[in-house]
Amino acid sequence: MSKSSYDYPGYERSGSRYWAKTTILYGGITFGALLWSLPLWWMLSTALSGNPTGASVSFIPAEPTLANFEELFATEPVGRWFFNSIVFAGSVTAFNLVFDSLAGYALAKIEFVGREKLFLLFVATIMVPAMVTLIPVYVLLAELGWVNTYQGLIAPLIAQPIGIFLLRQHFMNLPSSLGDAAKIDGCNEFQTFYKVYLPLAKPALATLGIYTFVTTWKNFEWPLIIASDESMYTLPVALFAVRNQYFTEWGLVMAAAAVIVLPVIAVFLSAQKYFIRGMTLSGMKG
């Protein structure tokens, strides 16, 4: 945080003007935050209410019960969906970390023919709306027979330009003399990358990893298209399907929503710092 316009000598911290300002500030931001949390709170209290039919839901359920969760888990393959989501987000993240760190390193530290052009090409593709490539990619995967498979779900997302960009920036800022020293000591290019530079890129890798994991976890568009069989749904697609199935049974639907939302909040709370960095970078995604 910068020092902000409050940190200067002689700043008044008393008097009616100060208190008026402070009240407005806290009042406004608290009101906003409550408003912003309301939908999630309502989701949770509905999910925990026994028989939620509109007016019967209260802000704090009188008799909180896990009945909705129990019924959901008993009637739907939630475990399978959870597993699919983990496999999907986990593999996409792992592939991106490996491929993007290789490419990012090469584009930053190896002088090879055409690397600037290649980098510009990678970056330029960030602007293409997903819908343009989605249909041809679907056709391609349908030809390969990869619809409703893990490889179909994962393959199109395993190398994303945002990661190349982030890691290249990071490697550029590490001194080249490190690599020169390693090479004099007899390291080849891969050893230099793996033993010298990669360990120094840990913060950037953490940021990219968390960012990729969460954006893949919440990805709705691609799994919706490629996973048409219930057993291949990820959680967001499953939620969409469940909603249509139990149209008015909001207790069940909100329990399903909570199953997706709560892990994300847990991840966020444990890795806030990296996550916000990564999110800011998605500015690149366009």
Partner: protein, 341 residues
């Protein structure tokens, strides 16, 4: 760590200038060994890019001129006769034709009703309302959280969590929150304003805007918080010495010094709202009475409900054209800025 902070305010334009810097810095000639190693390192990415990005873009262009149905198979060119000339633009021409469609919402009952333009209208309205509101909202929240306030983490979490939710979750949760028996009506009923917000064509698009705002403000807040930290304290001190009040400092120091952030946030928001899809689908599936059918919802329906891949791809290219114009415009302005510095 400074690398990351640098990256935070970076953009495509900066990437381009980074490349130019790199070109200037490199003095060594590429050696054969380096060529081999370099290409080997980028090979996985090049393969994935060719297969899933560059190839598909080219293929999409071909598809957009053809009658292509997933089940009926590869297609023929679609033709249109224009001023006596036969052109292979059938899909593009069809999109602009009236769409045969029955509805019970009086406002749409017209023989010349065109669903494409209606989707464009919905998307444009959504963009016009959501973009400025979420920018101003994000700025105000960032400003509040940049001040001497306690519990920053709690507030930041409250505003940021919606950003991380899947569009499916946001859409479904809001469907319930805004439903006839939902919590919003609990508050509005005493005022006599209860309404079935999600199921009325008149209010569904407005409700969708609310969801967009809910999910967007936290993202802009983070960008503005990053931008605020780059304003030198000396500027505030100078303004204070000149006797500027708090509001004057915001207006004359904070706001103008965030020029780059404003620009970045605006273009991102516009490009994002053009492509709004997931929340619209999960919230109301494009309905009621098409009120929340956005351009991408229409593309999705055309491709995956009607299996008209050629036509859907033509729509996607029309969208691409608009996004490209915005991106190019942004790139040009950034170029001019660099000259100005």
């Amino acid at each position: 760590m400074s690398t990351l902070d640098d990256s935070i305010s970076s953009s495509i334009g900066r990437a381009a200038s980074a490349v130019r810097n790199a070109v200037g810095r490199v003095t060594d000639r590429p050696t054969e060994e380096n060529n081999f190693a370099g290409l080997l390192f980028v090979l996985p990415n090049v393969i994935v890019f060719t297969l899933f990005l560059l190839g598909p873009i080219v293929y999409a262009l071909v598809l957009s001129f053809q009658e292509w149905n997933l089940f009926l198979g590869t297609g023929e060119l679609t033709w249109v006769t224009l001023f006596g000339v036969r052109l292979p633009l059938g899909n593009y021409a069809d999109i602009l034709q009236p769409w045969p469609w029955e509805n019970n919402w009086g406002a749409l009952r017209s023989p010349s009703f065109n669903l494409w333009w209606f989707a464009v209208r919905n998307t444009a309205l959504y963009t016009i309302v959501v973009v400025p509101t979420q920018i101003v909202g994000g700025f105000l929240v960032a400003l509040a959280l940049d001040s001497r306030i306690r519990g920053k983490k709690v507030f930041r979490t409250a505003f940021f969590v919606p950003v991380m939710l899947s569009a499916a979750a946001s859409g479904v949760i809001w469907r319930w929150v805004l439903s006839k028996n939902g919590v919003v009506n609990e508050f509005l009923r005493p005022l006599g304003l209860a309404h079935d917000w999600a199921n009325s064509p008149e209010t569904a698009l407005g409700a969708l805007m609310l969801i967009g705002l809910w999910g967007g403000i936290g993202f802009n807040m983070i960008l503005y918080l990053a931008g605020l930290q780059n304003i030198p304290d000396e500027l505030y001190e100078a303004a204070r010495i000149d006797g500027a009040s708090g509001l004057q400092r915001i207006r004359h120091v904070t706001w103008p010094n965030l020029r780059n952030t404003h620009f970045f946030v605006t273009v991102l928001a516009i490009i994002g709202t053009f492509q709004v899809f997931g929340i619209a689908l999960a919230f109301a599936e494009g309905g009621p009475a098409r009120a929340t059918t956005t351009v991408v919802v229409l593309i999705y329906e055309t491709a995956f409900d009607q299996s008209s891949f050629g036509r859907a791809t033509a729509m996607a290219f029309l969208l691409f054209a608009v996004v490209f114009v915005f991106s190019y415009y942004r790139y040009r302005i950034e170029q001019q800025d660099e000259v100005a510095y």
